[in-house]
Symmetry: C2
Subunit: 703 residues, 2 copies
């Protein structure tokens, strides 16, 4: 595959097929952009009705061009695309950027047209971006290609940006220019018939001009492949993603509670977290982070010093930093003494450091030096608020001149200062990210710290457990043979047992006498559960009695339960008599099959409370041992597992092992549609876990 | 008090005391601003060393001015402030704006100086803003006063802005100008020695030029007075507040868990919620909301239609709207049919409505008309994304021309379009709030809907319950007489009983024999709890046994508990034998005394889980019946109280009544420092609540 995308990004000659002489047309604008941005090669307008376009000799067909054509930008009407692509193939064109719309996105005839287009591209071994895209950009000096129709030319920089929305792509190019953010490459994916987003990410991974990768995503083509690639790429370069359509999936029918908890967005969230992609919520945030990552080193920790010339903005910065998980650095006594000696009496020498309103460049410089030298400081946020008594460009110069000598990130906020002001330009031109408000700088610093921690964290290993796969196959086959999808209670438990799960002692009884006998064997206290094919959630039907301590109590519960359920037409077929385990904490563990993301493992603390508080976490399979531990640690109620109020800690290592066993099971049996282990008891450290109740459902046959 | 602030905001003559001839000085800038903004009255520079300043005749002292002086702006060095204020008093000056710093904010001599300043102001009956402030603005045509030293003059509008930070004040004035937001009044409070923020809010309430009130707050002077005033004002005009210092309070030592849960910011949050103040998290958001509230009517509901010329931004707007609690409007079949008839085939006629890239003014106009007419639409968000094929000013014109004919809010986003672009100016100049990104518009719409709901919600009544206050006084007096602050278990329960709380049946035993006897009287199952002065949290010490069903079990628990505690040197003094109530849900209810906000009532679902999940809500006293109900409904786990999995609903009305009884108790006994009722059992609807355990602690004597 190497070099395939060079056909797109580094052509030496480009044909603009459909180049119009009318300045109102997109095709003219594309040609105009290529010329204005100074494409470092030959351009051939193709237009059967003109001898020149935009002062350049035009040819009726690409076949008429006397030289080699490396790449073609296609802007002809949809009906003509196939024939010009055929011509490109015959001409030996290696790269295509198809801007023309009217393919699968319009359905019907468009779908067929797209299939034929794909066949042609494959037949001639060409590389294609689009169709229905808005072009690509490569700012490299050797290439200098802007093949978009965006009205504003890009700045050169080290950020690669890929977008699934053409419209938003142009808006973002415009915003990038407004905030002085420079790009290395840009690609609008369009319908992604040939070149996918994943392929582009791999290209950017190797691109020496690119340091930061930005994505705007509306949907994933192949999420599992994305995870595999992103997991590798994020170790080398940060990927910052804006994913929209968080809510589009709407309500998804789900029989099980585990399924019901999975909102439309949890798959994306789990995916990004597992592979270290930094997710942002808005275009603004996308660029805020991009500026910081592209221009400054990563912080070695979360301790931030704030320098300001006004109290209010200092407090706001502190709020924002702390609420994004950063810490206010504690300055060393030496630093404080130095500041006290050198600052006016009214200044505040503790962090946030307030230089007061008359601070000038030299004062900023002096304090920045002292603070950046302090070993207790990992990052610096410098704030300036108007009215600045002295020249604010002088302050801006002080900031970048000091910052460049230290390997600690320095971000700045010239509060409210417009992005075309001289001070802002002075900072932007010298590698200091500057933000309109301190909050944005704080959020960006926090993202850098998070990424730094991601790079430092252990990836862990994918463990493979020795399980009784034969037994598991037997159970699944039997269920399929019965034309069922839902496993019986005992089958579910046995399946899990085959994968190494411990189950609380469980027996089945068809009569009160048998139940009493089993309870004696198991030993009181026991639990009694009524089984009926129509009862999915036993608690809702009052089909569960816990902590039964005597035969009298068992007799009573057996009677009440039978009567109540019979009166509802749900006379129990049999009863489960179980050991009532004490001393464990209830968790839930399960799997829900996402139509897009495949199996998603879920974990949380149990009980109806958690179901409503939604304190659960999702993870994709396969998962490493470290992934499993991180999943467990990431629930809000994790302190409860660590032991609160003098309780001993729970066996988190065992929970992590079972998450991986569950992961292995659903990877090996891809037709399992849903697993819900609830409750799954976890005992004290080194004492393991036990399944109390479980439900397993297969995916519909042939599904 | 009426008219007091007119002395500041509507003077006919102003003396600038300390007006310098040097353009570098703040005092010159103040004079310059007054002149440039065209003050509609007479200005007298006061400078003992100059005969004119800024081409205006100057006087050595305010006493030398031959005419009346209504207001004086004081910019002399701190050491001279008192003497010039004395002169102002003698001259009959009614209003003072003291810009000079060097008062209580520097401590020591500054504090004394501030006290003397206050005395002088009181002595002469003057009204004073400051000291240590940055001036005031009144844009009213009859006044036209800009007494700040902000480099950028304000625009005229209907937004009043008050700030506790001078530095941030100037930054905000600059930002307001950048986003074309106009002000009616502006005031920098400074040290607020005379005129407080609360007094200013009451002034803005009556000010006919002001429609929206913005606050930047770092700390509350008198929070209870703020609540009283804001509760009234927000019924007439929206108050939008940015409160910084969310994290400044840091860790606060707290003996009880209830106290520990109250973060430094919960008081502010409870306060704002109870009085309908809209809280924002950043300067950006402050202005986003201000634009919407000042320019557009409130929506009658949460159903929003989105019109866009690009798919991506439409999806992003949908995400943002839904995640802020808004709904995507369902268009009527009539509207859809009309759109289908009139839009190009490629357009999407369902919400978000995509007009596709070539949409021009007439197409926007046609669709806006149809959508605003639709009764299923409460609000409209119009998005335009570049490149716009047609003139985007034409689209902007279409937007405001249609919007002005409907009483539904219309917000717009010209994505990435700079704030000085012609299209943005066209919108801003005609009352359509326009945002760089659709997310900001969505958030602003949601705030409008929230405010509309606040206006519609019932305030409720302050109920007064008939309680046994004598008994309560007796208990508290006894504790004080013993020089204790902590009430014994039984005293805590009796105090609550005096305020009408039901308590589960509880007896005290000093021996096993007595415990067994009491258990028989109460009836099994019972709970056994060991009492020792050093044991605050019984669970942590294993000093609680629940659900004891037989005398054998009671005997065993009694033994184990005694042994374990004795071995730790905590041999129980006595035991509590309690009815073990079944069928209730555990909640917690309590009160923690905030040093600033006073008593704060807390409520949440009980158990260690909730303590760690922090699903609790705080409310200020006194509270209306509706406040109490809203508190309960606002916890995340509220669905559990409504009944899940077929369970009956809990007695929420009873919970609400007890919140008010607790509120009454802590209002009547202001020396109660802390109440922790945990667990507080709530039973099925109409079956009430019962206290199981409670701890009450008095505030330190004389505190």
């Amino acid at each position: 595959m190497s070099g395939r995308l060079d056909n797109i990004f580094s052509p030496q000659s480009i044909a603009v097929i459909g180049a119009s002489r009318s300045k109102q047309k997109v095709s003219w604008q594309v040609l105009d952009n290529l010329l204005k941005f100074g494409f470092n090669g030959r351009i051939y307008p193709i237009n059967p009705k003109a001898t020149s376009v935009h002062s350049i000799k035009a040819y009726p067909s690409v076949l008429d061009v006397p030289d080699e054509v490396d790449m073609a930008i296609i802007v002809v009407p949809a009906a003509h695309v196939l024939s010009v692509v055929e011509e490109c193939g015959r001409k030996g064109v290696k790269g295509l950027v198809v801007i023309t719309a009217g393919f699968s996105e319009i359905g019907g005839v468009g779908i067929e047209r797209e299939q034929e287009l794909h066949s042609l591209v494959t037949k001639y071994g060409m590389t294609m971006i689009g169709p229905n895209c808005m072009g690509v950009i490569n700012t490299h000096d050797d290439v200098q290609m802007d093949s978009t129709f965006s009205p504003i030319p890009p700045l050169k920089g080290d950020i690669a940006f890929m977008t699934q929305s053409g419209a938003l792509g142009v808006a973002i190019l415009e915003h990038a220019r407004n905030v002085a953010v420079g790009l290395s490459k840009f690609a609008s994916l369009g319908n992604a018939v040939d070149v996918s987003g994943n392929e582009l990410i791999e290209y950017m991974e190797e691109d020496p001009e690119t340091a930061v990768i930005l994505l705007y995503i509306e949907s994933f083509g192949d999420p599992r492949n994305f995870v595999r690639i992103a997991r590798r790429v994020t170790r080398r370069k940060p990927i910052i993603a804006l994913k929209s359509g968080r809510t589009e999936a709407g309500a998804r029918a789900a029989v099980s509670h585990t399924g019901a908890m999975a909102g439309p967005d949890v798959g994306t969230q789990a995916l990004f977290e597992q592979c270290g992609v930094l997710r942002v919520g808005s275009i603004q945030e996308l660029f805020d982070l991009a500026m910081a990552f592209s221009q400054q080193p990563l912080p070695q920790g979360r301790r931030v010093a704030v320098i300001t010339n006004g109290g209010g903005p200092g407090i706001m910065a502190t709020d924002a930093l702390v609420s994004h998980g950063m810490q206010m650095a504690e300055l060393s006594p030496k630093t404080i003494a130095y500041l006290e000696k050198n600052l006016p009496q009214e200044a505040s020498t503790s962090n946030p450091i307030d230089l007061i309103a008359d601070a000038d460049g030299p004062r900023y410089r002096l304090v920045m030096e002292a603070v950046l030298k302090d070993e207790g400081v990992d990052a610096l946020l410098v704030i300036t608020v108007p009215p600045v008594v002295t020249d604010d460009v002088e302050i801006a110069r002080a900031i970048w001149e000091v910052a460049r000598d230290y390997d600690k990130p320095t971000l700045s906020s010239f509060v409210s200062r417009a992005e075309d002001s001289p001070a802002f330009m002075e900072l932007a031109g010298h590698g200091i990210p500057s933000y309109l408000f301190p909050e944005n700088a704080a959020r960006s610093l926090a993202a850098m710290a998070t990424y730094r921690e991601y790079l430092a964290r252990e990836e862990g290993e994918f463990r493979v457990f020795d399980v009784d796969r034969g037994k598991a196959e037997e159970i699944v086959s039997k269920v399929r043979a019965d034309s069922r999808t839902r496993l019986h209670e005992t089958e579910s438990l046995e399946l899990l047992q085959a994968y190494g799960f411990n189950i609380v002692e469980t027996r089945m009884a068809h009569s009160l006498e048998k139940a009493l006998e089993l309870a004696e064997e198991i030993g009181y206290p026991v639990a009694l559960k009524a089984i009926h094919p129509k009862i999915v959630h036993k608690t809702e039907y009052g089909a569960v009695a816990l902590d039964i301590r005597t035969s009298d109590e068992l007799r009573r519960h057996f009677g009440t339960m039978s009567d109540r359920l019979s009166s509802k037409g749900l006379a129990p077929k049999e009863f489960m008599v179980q050991e009532f385990a004490r001393g464990g904490k209830e968790t839930i563990m399960g799997m829900t099959l996402d139509p897009k993301f495949g199996p998603m493992i879920v974990f949380g603390l149990g009980g109806v409370y958690v179901e409503f508080l939604k304190d659960v976490v999702f993870g994709l399979t396969p998962m490493t041992d470290m992934d499993a531990v991180r999943m467990i640690e990431s629930i809000r109620s994790y302190p409860i597992l660590e032991g609160v109020r003098g309780e001993p800690p729970s066996d988190v290592a065992s929970l992590a092992e079972y998450l991986q066993r569950l992961s292995q099971m659903v990877e090996e049996f891809q037709d399992i549609g849903e697993v819900d282990i609830n409750p799954f008891l976890v005992f004290e450290k080194d004492k393991g876990c036990k399944v109390v109740d479980a439900r397993v459902i297969l995916a519909p046959a042939g599904g």
